[in-house]
């Protein structure tokens, strides 16, 4: 019988191959996907996040854990269709117009994916029109806006206004992030939240979805 504690350890240690093997074994043994996810995978990611916040782990460890989690989740996803289970939520993410920086935004996208969100990554230099189109097309519940420059962060407000004008603002929660952005700035432009790093972004997204 598969010892799922090893799945917990595989994700915590960022061991993709081990995480995939154990998950495949668990599937063969017909262990319920929800149990695997909630009791082992999510708890491992939570522990990695805790270590990150405590300064005991850094971005490489976060990414390796998220990669192992994503690999294991991909094995479970086909089994969850029609089970009445839903993904964590749909997220549209992009770096705002005028800004070409993408590494921070990609870290957040990857972590969200690793934690079970469906992520539509629009890329960099994204106009308000493109954000509005993507929210409509994908029926997103969360929009993540990223900017690295003090000169481009103000465009986040333009995007929020565009979502309001298109009647979509009430159906989405808006998260912002990036080097110059702060909690106070998020409040000032009418965003629903700000996160300082990729790990905190996942926790914020989970809170926003839970309402």
């Amino acid at each position: 019988m598969t010892d799922l504690e090893n799945l917990y350890l595989a994700i915590l240690n960022g061991n993709l191959e081990m995480a995939e093997n154990i998950t495949a074994e668990a599937v063969k043994e017909q262990i319920a996907p929800q149990l695997i996810i909630q009791e082992y995978m999510a708890k491992a990611m939570h522990e990695t996040g805790k270590r990150f916040e405590a300064g005991e782990a850094f971005v490489p460890e976060l990414l390796m854990s998220a990669r192992a989690m994503k690999g294991a989740l991909d094995i479970l996803k086909p089994l969850m269709v029609g089970e009445g289970t839903k993904g964590m939520g749909k997220v549209v993410i992009g770096t705002v117009k005028g800004d070409l920086h993408d590494i921070g935004k990609n870290l957040v996208a990857f972590m969200l994916e690793g934690c079970g969100f469906d992520v539509i990554n629009l890329g960099v230099n994204i106009s308000s029109d493109k954000f509005v189109e993507a929210v409509k097309e994908h029926k997103a519940q969360i929009v993540c806006l990223s900017a690295l420059l003090t000169t481009t962060m103000n465009y986040m407000k333009t995007i929020i206004q565009a979502l309001e004008e298109s009647g979509l603002r009430k159906q989405v929660k808006i998260m912002i992030g990036g080097a110059p952005v702060t909690e106070a700035f998020a409040a000032q432009i009418g965003a629903d939240g700000y996160s300082e790093n990729a790990n905190a972004a996942v926790a914020l997204a989970q809170r926003l979805i839970a309402g």
Partner: protein, 225 residues
Amino acid sequence: MDNEYSIEVEQLSFPLSSILQEIGYGQVTPKDEIRLLIETLFNEVRQVVHPSCLFQILNGEIEGEKVILENGATFHVGKILSRLLQGADQFALFTATVGNEFQKYRKEVAQENLLHDFIIDTIGSCLVEAVGDKMETFLEQETAPKRHTHRFSPGYCGWPLTDQKTLFRLLNGKPCGIILSEECLMLPEKSISGIIGIGTQVNEKAYGCRYCEMDTCYKRKRRKK
């Protein structure tokens, strides 16, 4: 006249420890797998890159929140930087870059692998700052015994990014092979540009959070942690 320098990586102060520190491994040792990966990518980057830097020294003065150069060109540096540049009667306009080879290498190696991309990005950021430091040593050889300020870049401390257009025009459009995008960002991405104040009266130590009032500065956020 522009002073352009091609730089060998061996000339730079650019140790592996600076990358580990930047990622966060100051007190904590990364596990072997991560350390080996960082070390491998670090050594590969060192082998492929061809960094360069350039500066042009012009006479000028500070008028209010602007720097006005001898040729009439104006930089709208704002309140914070005009204060930090006080005392300068010359200004070095500069660029420094890790070069296009870095961009190509990153594209090849980091494709679809965010962990590699993150590490290479960090290596590039540390490398371009090391190139900037080297550029300052070349500048010092040229301007001694005068003193100089820290380097300041458009897009920071309230200096509008759009002034990049003026800066690049004065440096003949494509300094060190760097291309300025419509959004005033530089390609290769790991490039820096800006000005340095030069004079007998400048305060070279004057930099840091106590001199700047910008709440949204990323350096201030880091210090609060």
